[in-house]
């Protein structure tokens, strides 16, 4: 990678930026889930590693969250954009060199920011934890170059129309810049108190709604037609999905702090808009499942489709929860409990991670022109992720319901802590499975570069048989 930083644009092989992003994202995935599993162990066994400030739960939690969001998820997104956008425009990436620098700064900036958080250098606001010095790097060094590259690649395309995936990529890279800039603005404009708290959650909500969800969906709009060979079921439903994301997903931020004294109109507005999130969700899921018509055998046989469709199916419970848990009555019961943690992992570890994993699997094979080293290992990875995630999700959902009941029926808090203990252990076991599965994935990908079967020119990876 370093040798390309100063190379001339023409000397950099096409796809290098995407490959570097792909491998970086896998490494961050392993690191991030290792941290998650460490935190889970601490919540189950509080005296596991104690007495060291840097390793205490309060210092490690935000490092896990931002490592997976900005390291794994966002870098996998960047990887997907850097190979899917040009592929759909029948062209090359606008600037491969910018892409390489982007990846380099991303890794450095994120490492510095996370080490800072680890030492306790935080702004004290959830999800926008990074101090504003780092935020400036994130906006200027990570997001703007990415957006520039994606939008310019779309502009210089050699096809007439723009395919659904690229609408989402272009719009999301643009919106996430605005979201980051606005969400971190309290530190610049002396916005304090409730305004600041509200903006914090405006940021958290919109990073999920305008960045993670649409980009993950966009990936599946590419992978499913590409691998199955079926055309997208409906372009029109794609339109509906896109516009309803922009209109409905960007508004319900206040539902994260329903118990705070925010103005009532804002809370009610958020609640109603939140239910409308079901519109893009249904459009998305139905469109993709209908695209699969006649090719459902691939759900079993093909590893990329297996990941993608699992992700799409997980979007159903995700949005059912999301749509209703922010209505006041339900929110009253589950707010702040483990239910929300389960929901967050359903969105990020379930829905979006499965889609990104598919993009990284497929992209690295296409770009390296190497068939995946081992299908068995890939299947093992899939099942470790799915079973690990399911264990996590179910145990935390139950823990959340217990907590909710405890909160409403006025149970002394310590009894709730005791009742949750088995589920905390189950969550730790589930999370550790995810982590171990990822280690296997890293090994599988490493072997793929070294000894994977070479894919002949003019063929696609999924057309070749596995050798192992």
């Amino acid at each position: 990678m370093f040798k390309y930083l100063l190379a001339r644009e023409e000397d950099i092989p096409a796809g290098s930026a995407a490959i570097f992003f792909g491998f970086s994202s896998i490494i961050w995935f392993v690191v991030g889930t290792a941290l998650g599993s460490f935190n889970a162990a601490k919540l189950a066994f509080p005296d596991f590693v104690t007495g060291i400030e840097m390793l205490s739960f309060g210092h490690m939690r935000q490092v896990h969250v931002l490592a997976v969001i900005l390291g794994w998820i966002s870098m996998a997104f960047a990887m997907a954009m850097m190979y899917i956008t040009p592929a759909l425009g029948n062209t090359k990436l606008w600037s491969e060199k910018l892409g390489i620098w982007n990846c380099f700064i991303w890794n450095i900036g994120l490492s510095v920011g996370l080490c800072g958080l680890w030492f306790g250098i935080t702004s004290g606001r959830e999800y926008s934890d990074m101090p504003f010095v780092i935020d400036v790097v994130i906006i200027g060094g990570l997001l703007i170059p990415l957006c520039l590259n994606v939008i310019m690649t779309i502009k210089t395309r050699r096809t007439q129309g723009i395919y659904t995936t690229n609408w989402f990529f272009g719009a999301a890279t643009f919106m996430v810049i605005i979201v980051f800039a606005v969400g971190n603005s309290p530190e610049f404009f002396q916005l304090t108190g409730l305004t600041e708290a509200y903006l914090t959650w405006w940021f958290a909500h919109n990073v999920l709604g305008l960045w993670i969800t649409p980009v993950a969906a966009a990936i599946s709009y590419y992978i499913v037609p590409k691998v199955t060979g079926n055309p997208l079921y409906s372009h029109r439903i794609g339109h509906l999905h896109f516009w309803s994301v922009v209109v409905f997903y960007s508004t319900p931020a206040a539902h994260h702090i329903m118990s705070s004294p925010l103005p009532e109109w804002l809370k009610s507005f958020a609640s109603v808009e939140g239910v409308l999130i079901l519109v893009p969700a249904i459009a998305f899921v139905s469109n993709l499942l209908l695209t699969m018509t006649g090719k459902w055998n691939m759900f079993i046989e093909n590893i990329e489709i297996k990941f993608t469709i699992t992700g799409v199916l997980l979007a159903i419970p995700l949005n059912m929860q999301g749509g209703f848990q922010q209505t006041r009555a339900i929110n009253w019961y589950i707010h702040g409990t483990g239910w929300i943690v389960a929901h967050a992992h359903l969105a990020l570890l379930g829905f979006s991670t499965f889609l990104e994993a598919a993009a990284v699997y497929y992209g690295l094979q296409t770009l390296l022109r190497r068939k995946l080293y081992s299908l068995a290992l890939a299947n093992f990875h899939f099942w470790m992720l799915l079973i690990g995630f399911a264990t996590y999700w179910i145990s935390m959902t139950i823990a959340g319901l217990i907590q909710g009941a405890g909160k409403i029926y006025e149970v002394p808090y310590i009894d709730v802590v005791i009742a949750e203990h088995p589920y905390m252990i189950a969550r730790w076991v589930g999370g550790t499975m995810v982590f171990l599965g990822n280690c296997v994935w890293m090994f599988n990908m490493w072997k793929t570069i070294r000894v994977g079967t070479v894919i002949p020119d003019g063929r696609l990876p999924h057309e070749l048989a596995y050798e192992r």
Partner: protein
């Protein structure tokens, strides 16, 4: 952008995204920031100081350049005894809280009174200031305001501090930093919910209670009780001390981490704390081999643990 549709689409996109931002950012922010600060809000921001998270004056979150909240029993200028009052002492170069730096944050009523009667405009970083809070009736409504006692009564910060014994000082500003840095808000909330929190623990927060505070550290996950009113249900300094050193000493089932590292090297009487010795004695006790647990060292008056305990006890 070859097609006319894309031009229209791009404009529609701008319109849709723009109007969603208008509603959720502009309208919301204008509405929220039109609220006037309450007495509680003044108390919080004056006690915590300008920033509770990363800032230039305290980039490593060590609690540098923070105010001290004191209970004054004598007039620092004349030395005469007065009814005990809570004062917020900002020594030289400690940045003033947001309401002093940007009085519009206080809202119309409190701003006018604070600038007119309270003379907060005269507060000067190079000297520091001592602040008091008051509430007066204006047109049938109670309006709180800040008084800059350095301007109105000539109370000098350093002299004021010198008149207050250590047990009447609360390092809540530094304690808030510890609260944020140590991530207490990943388990505890500072935002009670409409459940037993409101019924037993104390009044729910109101709109003006947070003006000027940054960050509010509400917390979103609850794995532990809400702390908004913890100081009024448990005011024992000793319990807090034991609980922070090792929560399992007072609550065997607690999952709260140990915060013994906040004690630093020395205890209150200047002796070096022997952590290894303490832990092995505790392990013996936890394993049932000894009957009494080892004594918890009393934190040094400048330690981080002391500031954190001050902060927690001050949450009333």
């Amino acid at each position: 952008m070859a097609f006319r549709e894309y031009k229209i689409g791009a404009r529609m996109f701008g319109l849709a995204f723009g109007s969603s931002m208008f509603i959720t950012l502009y309208m919301a922010a204008v509405d929220i920031s039109s609220v006037s600060v309450s007495q509680i809000g003044l108390h919080r921001q004056l006690g915590f100081g300008r920033a509770g998270g990363f800032s230039y004056e305290d980039p490593f979150l060590r609690g540098w350049a923070k105010p001290t909240q004191v209970i004054l029993a004598v007039d620092p200028k004349t030395g005469a005894a007065i009814d005990p009052v809570t004062a917020y002492v900002y020594e030289k170069d400690v940045p003033f809280p947001n309401g002093i730096r940007h009085p519009r944050i206080l809202g119309d009523g409190p701003r006018e009174l604070s600038e007119g009667r309270g003379r907060i405009g005269e507060a000067d970083d190079a000297v520091g200031a001592v602040f008091l809070t008051h509430e007066v009736e204006v047109n049938g409504e109670l309006v709180p305001y800040i008084e800059n006692a350095t301007a109105t009564r000539g109370w000098i910060p350093a002299e004021t501090l010198a008149k207050v014994p250590d047990n009447k000082r609360l390092q809540v500003g530094k304690g808030k930093i510890m609260f944020v840095r140590e991530g207490c808000w990943w388990c505890h909330t500072l935002l009670p919910e409409q459940t037993q929190d409101w019924q037993y623990f104390g009044a729910p927060p109101m709109l003006g209670d947070f003006n000027g505070e940054s960050p509010t550290a509400f917390g979103s996950d609850r794995k532990a009780p809400d702390l908004t009113h913890v100081g009024s249900r448990n005011s024992s300094r000793e319990w807090m001390m034991i609980h922070f050193f090792n929560p399992r000493l007072v609550q065997p089932h607690s999952i709260m981490p140990r915060y013994d590292y906040l004690w630093g090297d020395k205890d209150a009487s200047g002796n070096t704390i022997d952590y290894d010795g303490w832990r092995s004695a505790y392990n013996e006790y936890a394993a049932g081999k000894s009957i009494v647990p080892p004594d918890v060292p009393v934190p040094h008056k400048d330690s981080e643990a002391r500031a954190l305990i001050d902060f927690v006890l001050n949450l009333k």
